[in-house]
Structure formats: C-alpha cells, structure tokens
C-alpha cells in the first residue's frame, strides 16, 4: 500500500506567545509536529505494518521542518519529503498549501493519504479536504477508527461528539481526530535508523509550479493578542458568602443570569 502523511511543523501553542509588529515572534519558540498529524503518522505506520507498503511523510516549509520529518522517520515512516518554499513563497494560505501538496501527490498513485484534522496554529482544517478535492479522491474527516478489509474501508468518525460509522474505498484521504490511536515515541534504534532514511528536498521548480499559481487567495491584515482581560476577581471570605456574592455579581454586574 502506498501511504502518504501530510505533516505540518507547528508552533507549540502550550508555549507563551509573543506578538510584535503584528506578527507572531518565532525566535526561540518551541516547534513540534502538529499533534493531530502525530495520530496520522501513527495510523499510517499501523496500516503499513498490517498491509505492507511504504509510508512517506510530506511537509511544506523551510529547512527547520527537517527536524519534524526526522522525528516522523524515527517513529517508523519510511521516507520523507520536504517541499521547501522559503525562496519562492512569501505569503501562503490554505489554498497555497493544498495546491502544492496536490501537485506533488498527483502522479504518486497514493492509496491512502492521512492528514491532521486541524493544525493547532492556523486552525482552519481546510488543507486535507482541499487536497482530496484537487486529486479528485474521496475524503473523510475527523476519524477515530480505520479498518481496511480488501477493497472496503470501514471508518468511524466523530461528528460533534456522535460516532458515525461509514464505509468507503481506496484511494482515500482521511484526517485524524484525537482518539484514533496513541502515537508512539520514537525509540533510540528508531532515531538511529531515521538518520539514514531518505529525506528528499524539493522546490516549486521541481514540481513545475509557477509562483503565480500558488499566490494566496486570502490576506492576513493583522495578528493580535486578545485584549487583556481585567484580572479576574477571586472572591474571598467563607464559601457560602462567596457563593451569594457570585450569584449577585452574575446577576447585577455581569448580567448573564
């Protein structure tokens, strides 16, 4: 089975965020594999181990993203591809990302493509379905279970807390929701092996993409932190009097009840 995983290097949103000059400051920040993409990598490895084949992880980014690709290889992926857009693309949006990924994937005859359901930084959840549409293959989002039996793919997906059971077939793109699996940690031998696994670097030229073709459709005008909330009020005194104070605050000050 020919399996591809779309992996995004993301800002670790558990870390402190600093905005200056209308941009998120990335210097010194922690970067990780988008957590939902870790589920996708884990699932890809599991499917390969059960059905044979090869797992290729693909990312669009700059050289820094090599680190996350090596981690994916150490988890057990077979090959990695970095589509380096540093010199070619100034502004990227979901259209851009999907277009580039689809151009890369279009002649790869992928049976199964896995992505995260959402990137924790950009947060749109668009890239997976957009790629599937460009490749003209079916997609299923926010999956929590995947079983491949011959031609049939049985899936459970999360729809706002309910579990939808469905059947479809390959080729297919799925996006991973939490609950799909428990991603493994790279083992020491895994990390050693990963150093020797192939990591291919491509640029837009290699994919015959013109810069104009991938120009972003949307434009970020400003990035800002939410207005600092007034420090919340920690009530004081005996619990019963705190409770009655709270009720009157909710009614008279906050006016929500």
């Amino acid at each position: 089975m020919n399996i591809y995983v779309l992996v995004k290097r993301t800002f670790d949103t558990e870390e402190k965020l600093v905005v200056s000059g209308g941009q998120i400051q990335e210097d010194g920040a922690e970067f990780i594999i988008n957590p939902y993409d870790e589920y996708a990598i884990e699932e890809a490895i599991t499917v390969r181990d059960a059905h044979g084949g090869e797992v290729t992880v693909v990312t669009i980014g700059d050289e820094e993203a090599e680190k996350q690709l090596r981690t994916a290889l150490a988890m057990g992926a077979d090959k990695a591809v970095l589509i380096n857009t540093e010199d070619d693309v100034e502004e990227m949006d979901q259209f851009t990302a999907a277009y580039i990924l689809a151009e890369y994937l279009k002649d790869k005859e992928a049976d199964l493509i896995l992505a995260g359901n959402v990137a924790i930084d950009g947060g749109s959840g668009q890239v997976g379905p957009r790629v599937a549409d460009l490749l003209d293959i079916n997609y299923v989002t926010t999956i929590t279970s995947l079983e491949i039996e011959g031609e049939t793919v049985k899936i459970v997906r999360d729809i706002e807390g309910d579990a939808e059971e469905l059947e479809t077939s390959l080729p297919l793109l799925v996006t991973a929701q939490q609950g799909l699996n428990e991603p493994r940690y790279p083992s020491l031998p895994g990390i050693m092996k990963a150093k020797k696994k192939p990591l291919e670097e491509l640029e837009l030229d290699d994919l015959d993409i013109d810069e104009e073709d991938v120009e972003a459709k949307t434009e970020t005008i400003e990035v800002y932190l939410p207005p600092k909330k007034q420090a919340g009020r920690i009530l004081e005194g005996e619990i019963p009097s705190q409770v009655s104070e709270l009720v009157s605050l909710l009614r008279s000050e906050a006016k929500v009840i």
Binding site: Q94, Q126, R130, D133, G161, E165, E167, K217, E219
Partner: protein, 322 residues
C-alpha cells in the same frame, strides 16, 4: 458594492440550528445590502424555509433527495454546487459545524477561492468586510480578507454573531432538482452519544466538570445546576478520559468549541487545549481547589474551594433568587 450571498442552513433533530440564523446575520453584513439566499439540503427540508426568511433570508432554495438524508461530502457537494451554478453568488457563509468544516474546503477548492474559517466577528460591510478569527489555539486573533475579486467564503463559529430579530416576512421558497449520483461514502449508522436537549455548542449557560469531579456521580450536582439555569453540562478531556462522562461532552480543541454567556468550570485545571474551546465565553467562572490553577487566568470570577461544597450552594442560592 453589494453582493449576493448564499447561506447553508442546517437542521438537527428536526429543527433548524441557531448557527444558521447567525450565518444569515453574517451574510447580511457581507452582502452590504445585496440579496441573501438560504440553501437547505436534505431529504425533506422545505418546511424550514419560512423560518429562514423570518430570520432575514430574502429567498430560500431547497434541494431534496433521498441521497441527502445523511450528510456526505459527495452528496452535499453536488447539491450545493448545483445551487452555486444556478445562482452565481459573490459570497458564501456556512456555520463552522461538523458539516460546515467538512464541506466548505471542498466547495472553496472547486471555486478556486480563499476560505476564511471559524470567523468570530466581522468588521465593516460588503466589499470592505474584514474577518476576525482565532489562531494559535485561541491565544491570538487574526484579521483576514480576501485578496482579489473571488467569491468571499467564510464559516462562522456558533454563538458569536448575533442573529437578527425574528420577524414575519415573506420570501420565495423554491426547490431545485439535482441528480445526485456516485456517492463514494455509505453511512451505516450514527451512534448518538450527545444528550438530548440543549445543544452544547449553542447553549447559553454551560456547567463544565473536569477530573476534579472524580466520578460519574460527581456530575450530578453539575447537571442539577445546569437544569436550573436552562443550560448544558460539558466536560474537560480529563473527565472524559477518566470515564466520568461521555466524550460527546468534551469541550476544547478536540471537542466542541463553545461561546456561552456563562461558563462555569468546576475541577478543571485550564489546559490550553481546553481553553481553545471556551476562552471566548462571555463570562467565565472558575471553581478549583488549587489557587494556582491556570483556569483562574481566564476567569472573570473565581472561587477557590471544593466544587462539592460550592456547586450545591450555588444551586440553592440561584433557586432563592430566580
């Protein structure tokens, strides 16, 4: 310049979802005085048409087909694109719901346009409209607009954009017949896990419990308070993982994103993934034993104490004054 805007209406358990009315209100802004046309897809949905008009749609188009009984991206995609071909809209608004999230990227891809997802606010109107959306798990916001003259396409986060006042109006409800073929996904079954009654993502009051609730029974006092206030019970991942409640109650990045008027977090520490789902709530109350808990950083009011003391007292106190 005014725009013709298509809005996708959604139903759930035999009724229109609130987010559809909010999407119409958003569409009105985006239209800058142009026409707002609501679209309903399903097996039998035309009965809901007039209600969308009452909330501000100028016109409604329904596509009814047995293959639209359950949502599939193929079925809904074909139906919605048929409406797009007929109407040639200049803008589209969906709710940022399970259906909206799944379908909007496909439609945007087919229209080769930008899509601005999970919008919580709109500044300006018509051609000048600028959209605000949370990024970095809700730690920051961005203002975005479409670069060129394409179809303006947004999805709106439930409970953020106020619906218009309901008024009796008249508007045309017409049907479009579409041949829906080649569904690549077959829905076998939906296991309902979410509770009947108030939909968590649209609730005005949410009482959420975390690992601090300690057991299934521990949720009972929360439920009692929620019932009293006409709200819903939610949970952190911690409580779901510990099997104190079903995952359908989970609030956060992986679960539901909620924006109630009042969010009471009891026994929840306030992890970033949880906050991504609730930090936009209008008023947040935190109840936690640990004065250092992160949740107090986003709380408007905090009580440091045992939730099993505080919650029943709260219920009693509300009973007295309501």
């Amino acid at each position: 310049m005014s725009k013709k805007v298509l809005v996708l209406g959604e139903t759930r358990e035999g009724a229109l979802r609130n987010v559809s009315f909010e999407a119409i209100a958003a569409a009105k802004k985006v239209s800058g005085g142009g026409e707002v046309v609501a679209v309903l897809l399903g097996e039998a949905v035309s009965e809901f048409g007039n209600e969308l008009v009452a909330y501000g749609a100028d016109r409604v188009i329904t596509v009814e087909h047995p293959h639209l009984k359950s949502y599939t991206s193929d079925g809904y995609g074909q139906a919605f694109m048929a409406v797009v071909d007929q109407e040639q809209p200049e803008a589209i608004v969906f709710g940022h719901t399970a259906v909206g999230k799944d379908l909007s990227p496909k439609i945007a891809s087919k229209l080769q346009t930008g899509l601005i997802s999970d919008v919580t606010d709109i500044e300006g109107e018509g051609a000048d409209a600028v959209f605000i959306r949370p990024i970095y798990s809700g730690k920051a916001f961005e203002k975005v607009k479409l670069k060129e003259n394409g179809v303006v396409f947004i999805t709106v986060r439930p409970n953020n954009i106020a619906p218009l006042e309901r008024e009796e109006r008249s508007g045309d409800v017409s049907s479009l017949s579409v041949d829906i073929t080649n569904l690549r996904t077959i829905i076998k079954n939906v296991v309902r896990k979410s509770a009947e009654g108030v939909d968590l993502s649209e609730a005005k009051v949410i009482i959420a419990g975390g690992r601090g609730v300690k057991s299934k029974d521990g949720f009972e006092p929360l439920q009692e308070l929620a019932d009293l206030l006409g709200g819903a019970v939610g949970a952190s991942r911690g409580a779901c993982d510990a099997d104190y409640c079903d995952y359908s109650l989970q609030i956060g990045q992986t679960g539901k994103v909620v924006t109630p008027d009042l969010y009471i977090a009891a026994g929840i520490s306030g992890a970033i993934q949880h906050m991504a789902g609730m930090s936009n709530s209008k008023v947040i109350v935190a109840i936690n034993k640990d004065p250092e808990a992160n949740i107090f950083k986003v709380a408007d009011y905090g009580i440091v104490g045992d939730l099993f003391d505080v919650i029943p007292l709260l219920t009693e106190e509300f009973k007295k004054v309501m």
